[in-house]
């Protein structure tokens, strides 16, 4: 098994994108109104990372896949009901706060500590996966700090493709400016890959995979360690919804050419 990998996917949970979000104040800082009752999903880019990881593990026999997720246990359980049916993994839950407002540095510390303590993990064969940004904080820093804390200095972000080669080296496509990809070759594991969308479709729900996963997910959730996420000197001055800007003008009897000319003039001025 020359390419047997230890893949750890870091994935948070975020509110369903169709939900209306309203900021509110909580005793621990800003949060979302009714956050605990909003339907949640696995963070979209991190979900891409999970599907890519599962495909990679399937192609390389002997590989192992962990899903490390920080969030309130009840929300994690709700999200796992769906995600567990997609691909085979071992859940490593961390009981902690939900949302994008807690500090990324403290979050990364809790995740790195958990990964370092995973029983049976071979750090020389480690591929640390996650989304390049979350749909909550959207900062793109947590995975990088986790990588640093684990001493990994081969890191790639905005990844859309990984091709593992014989001998353990791999080629990575990272998104860069101008809709292009930077192509890099890394000599081998360990490495950190922050995924963009990748190339794989969302796997279909497979009830058998779900049942197999749930046998380990429920005990893991019960044993989830609680993480305290310190503010690390971060203070919010204000948290608000963006102000709507609408300047409507009622105009009659303009020809299509006049409307087009006005639009061109307006776009030019912008």
């Amino acid at each position: 098994m020359p390419n047997a990998l230890n893949i750890v996917v870091c994935a948070g949970i975020s509110p369903d994108p169709l939900q209306t979000l309203e900021p509110t104040s909580t005793p621990t800082g800003p949060g979302l109104k009714n956050e605990m009752v909003l339907p949640a999903v696995l963070d979209p880019w991190a979900a891409s990372a999970l599907y890519e990881a599962a495909a990679l593990a399937a192609k390389n026999p002997g590989s192992k896949l962990w899903l490390v997720s920080l969030g309130p246990k009840a929300k994690l359980q709700q999200v796992m009901m769906t995600i567990a049916q997609k691909v085979l993994f071992e859940l490593v839950p961390i009981d902690g706060p939900i949302g994008g407002f807690p500090d990324a540095h403290s979050t990364a510390a809790a995740i790195a500590e958990t990964i370092a303590a995973l029983p049976g993990i071979d750090r020389a064969k480690l591929l640390l996966f996650g989304g390049w940004e979350s749909a909550t904080r959207g900062a793109g820093v947590t995975l990088q700090i986790v990588g640093e804390r684990l001493g990994i200095t081969d890191q790639f972000y905005g990844v859309d493709q990984i091709d593992l080669r014989d001998g353990g080296s791999f080629e990575v496509l990272e998104r860069i400016e101008g809709g292009r990809h930077q192509v890099s070759v890394c000599a081998g594991t360990p490495a950190v890959l922050g995924w963009a969308t990748g190339n794989l479709a969302e796997p279909r729900n497979n009830p058998q995979v779900g049942m197999s996963n749930m046998r380990t997910i429920m005990p893991a959730l019960q044993k989830a360690k609680q993480a305290t996420i310190a503010a690390n000197g971060l203070r919010y001055v204000s948290v608000s919804l963006p102000k709507q800007q609408r300047t409507t003008r009622v105009v009659k009897d303009l020809t299509p050419d006049q409307i087009a000319a006005e639009l061109v003039e307006w776009i030019g001025a912008e």
């Binding site: 900062a139 820093v141 990088q144 080629e171 998104r175 400016e177 690390n232 000197g233 971060l234 948290v239």
Partner: protein, 203 residues
């Protein structure tokens, strides 16, 4: 008193600084003026000697060499770390380019600092006798806007492109100070750029 460092890098040709870097310099200048702070500009480029022309009067630090001609985590992080240590900066501004977004959080961690990214606005607010930096950024994919501040230093902030005018000002006569750092190319090699075909159907 704050010391402000603006990290910049050359474009793919290596001949000029990127537009986003020049925008970060504008933001750095404004912040330095607001805080009456010292401004330092750091340049990451294979050859920084000709890049200092056209920059504002400030201390200029550079890490140069063939090893950082290619954007990659190991070398870029080491270069940025060396510049930050040489500048002893408390505030580090950098453009949200793919190159700096790849390494800035790691560098902030190495320096025991903090980082916030996708900053769209910087403001200096006076709280009593103390001037505080307030940064604006989006959360939940541009659905919630927050203004935040941090006590921890150094504080790294990655500025979104298009939020400041690119710097275009007086010519600089300051010499570039080369920061010595051992850059290990490591295990990653950049082999090229892949661009979609002009006529490629994306739908």
């Amino acid at each position: 008193m704050e010391t402000i460092l603006v990290l910049t890098h050359a474009d793919e040709t290596g001949a000029t600084l990127t537009k986003a870097s020049l925008e970060a310099i504008t933001a750095g200048q404004q912040l330095a003026t607001g805080l009456s702070a010292q401004l330092t500009i750091g340049i990451v480029s294979s050859d920084a000697t000709h890049l200092s022309k056209g920059l504002p009067s400030a201390r200029l630090l550079a890490v140069s060499g063939e090893a950082i001609a290619q954007p990659r985590y190991a070398t870029d992080a080491a270069a940025c770390e060396a510049i930050c240590r040489a500048a002893a900066a408390t505030i580090v501004l950098a453009p949200s380019s793919s190159r700096f977004a790849r390494v800035s959080a790691g560098v902030a961690h190495r320096l025991n600092g903090s980082i916030d990214t996708h900053i769209t606005n910087l403001n200096v607010a006076a709280i009593g006798d103390t001037a505080t930096i307030e940064a604006t950024r989006w959360f939940y994919r541009q659905r919630i806007e927050a203004v935040l501040t941090r006590d921890a230093r150094p504080w790294f902030m990655l500025l979104d492109t298009g939020t400041n005018e690119p710097f275009a000002g007086v010519m600089n006569t300051t010499a570039v100070e080369e920061v010595k750092v051992e850059l290990h190319v490591g295990r990653t090699t950049v082999v090229g750029i892949r661009a979609p075909k002009q006529d490629e159907q994306t739908i």
